[in-house]
């Protein structure tokens, strides 16, 4: 198959399996995209895991542990896909820790209160799930298949998030304030999360059907789904321009694209600290991998 034929094949809905011939650029683009997803799941664990230890009830402790466990599990599924494409897990972890590869903006920020825990499970996960659902249609079949399992497991996280938020919003004034304060801090990163609006036409990620949803479409879907939920609880969003037009499209203040770029290139408030934690725990447990996984680094 020529590149043109390959492009026509995937655009026509054709699926690509691991052993199939594929253009080098397609393989490279896949690895880069999927690796970043794996990195994000793995780094996303770090802001949340501290709160497992601090959870205020046994039920929340269990639910949060299960959620974080799922995310580790997702990173396993995702890195396995990358490994089968040709880049071993240890190489992915090396590059992540050395700052050579990226992970999503939201995981570079601090979590300060239980309000953050609830808002992350409610809104940040929601933003991520919108992108993940779009990936169910990815032309690379092994990735589309794991996305099915991932989306199914994420459905539990949404319920947990909603439950935490509702408990806080029906609690004391102080608890309600925790939520509002967290929403105020997370709104900026949330609006940046889906990336700046770029036209799909020229982007190879769309031509190859790796991505099938434009960034702006994802953001609009998020706003459609969640701003009403935010407002109905009596919470405010820190953007005076946020509103729907007559045609239903959401208008909002331009997100800070400079901040997004700055953060994902490794300069977020918590980037270094979290990468250092990964480096440290990896070094301390290297002997275990040598002892147990014969061909590990």
């Amino acid at each position: 198959m020529t590149e043109t034929e390959f492009e026509a094949y995937v655009q026509g809905g054709g699926a690509v399996e691991t052993g199939d011939p594929m253009p080098d650029e397609y393989r490279a683009a896949l690895i880069k995209f999927i690796e970043m997803h794996g990195n994000s799941e793995l780094m996303g664990v770090l802001p949340e895991r501290e709160w497992i230890l601090r959870a205020p009830t046994l039920q929340r402790k269990l639910a949060l542990t299960a959620k974080v466990q799922d995310e580790v599990g997702h990173s396993q599924l995702i890195y396995r896909v990358v490994e089968d494409l040709g880049k071993p897990r240890e190489a992915c972890l090396d590059d992540l820790i050395d700052g050579k590869t990226k992970f999503h903006n939201v995981f570079h920020y601090p979590t300060r209160t239980w309000g953050d825990v609830a808002v992350i499970a409610w809104l940040v996960d929601a933003a991520a799930i919108i992108s993940q659902k779009a990936l169910l249609k990815c032309s690379y079949a092994p990735y589309a298949r794991i996305m099915k399992k991932i989306c199914w497991e994420e459905s539990f996280h949404i319920l947990h998030g909603r439950d935490c938020i509702l408990a806080l919003m029906t609690g004391t004034d102080e608890q309600r304030e925790l939520v509002q304060e967290a929403v105020d801090r997370w709104w900026g990163p949330l609006m940046q999360f889906h990336g700046n609006p770029i036209p799909a036409d020229e982007d190879p990620m769309y031509r190859w059907r790796i991505k099938s949803q434009a960034n702006e479409e994802a953001r609009q879907q998020f706003l459609d789904g969640y701003v009403p939920q935010i407002w109905e609880l009596g919470l405010t969003v820190p953007d005076p321009k946020l509103r729907t037009r007559d045609d239903g499209v959401w208008e909002y203040s331009e997100p800070d694209w400079d901040e997004l770029k700055h953060v994902v290139t490794g300069h977020g408030p918590k980037t270094q600290e979290r990468l250092d934690l990964r480096r440290w725990s990896r070094e301390e447990t290297a002997w275990v991998r040598s002892a147990v996984l014969a061909d590990a680094a």
Binding site: G19, G73, Q76, R80, R145, K149, E153, V292, L293, A294
Partner: protein, 95 residues
């Protein structure tokens, strides 16, 4: 070592590929397969197989040039013959 995990969603259903995982031996692979494909009670049973034991065959059908309609449901046309047989038996029209 990489192991492939096949899972049976419910009793009696076919085993379907669930995913793969890394483990040093079968004992570890089983422990991890349980976790990944069973911790939510989502599988009735699992098969765990070393990846190298799985032989993949792509485009399995070997004979595709000559028509083999006798192997397909649409290769049979019974309407005309049934009508004739019923007329012979005097049962045409009776239902």
């Amino acid at each position: 070592m990489i192991w492939e995990v096949f899972r049976q969603e419910r009793e009696g259903l076919p085993f379907q590929h669930g995913g793969s995982l890394e483990a040093p031996n079968l004992v570890f692979a089983e422990a991890y397969a349980r976790e990944f494909y069973g911790r939510r009670d989502e599988s009735f049973a699992l098969w765990i197989v070393p990846r190298e034991a799985v032989d993949e065959v792509r485009e399995p059908y070997v004979a595709e040039v000559f028509d083999r309609d006798y192997r397909r449901v649409d290769g049979y046309s019974l309407k005309v013959k049934l009508k004739e047989a019923r007329e012979r038996a005097g049962t045409a029209g009776a239902r």
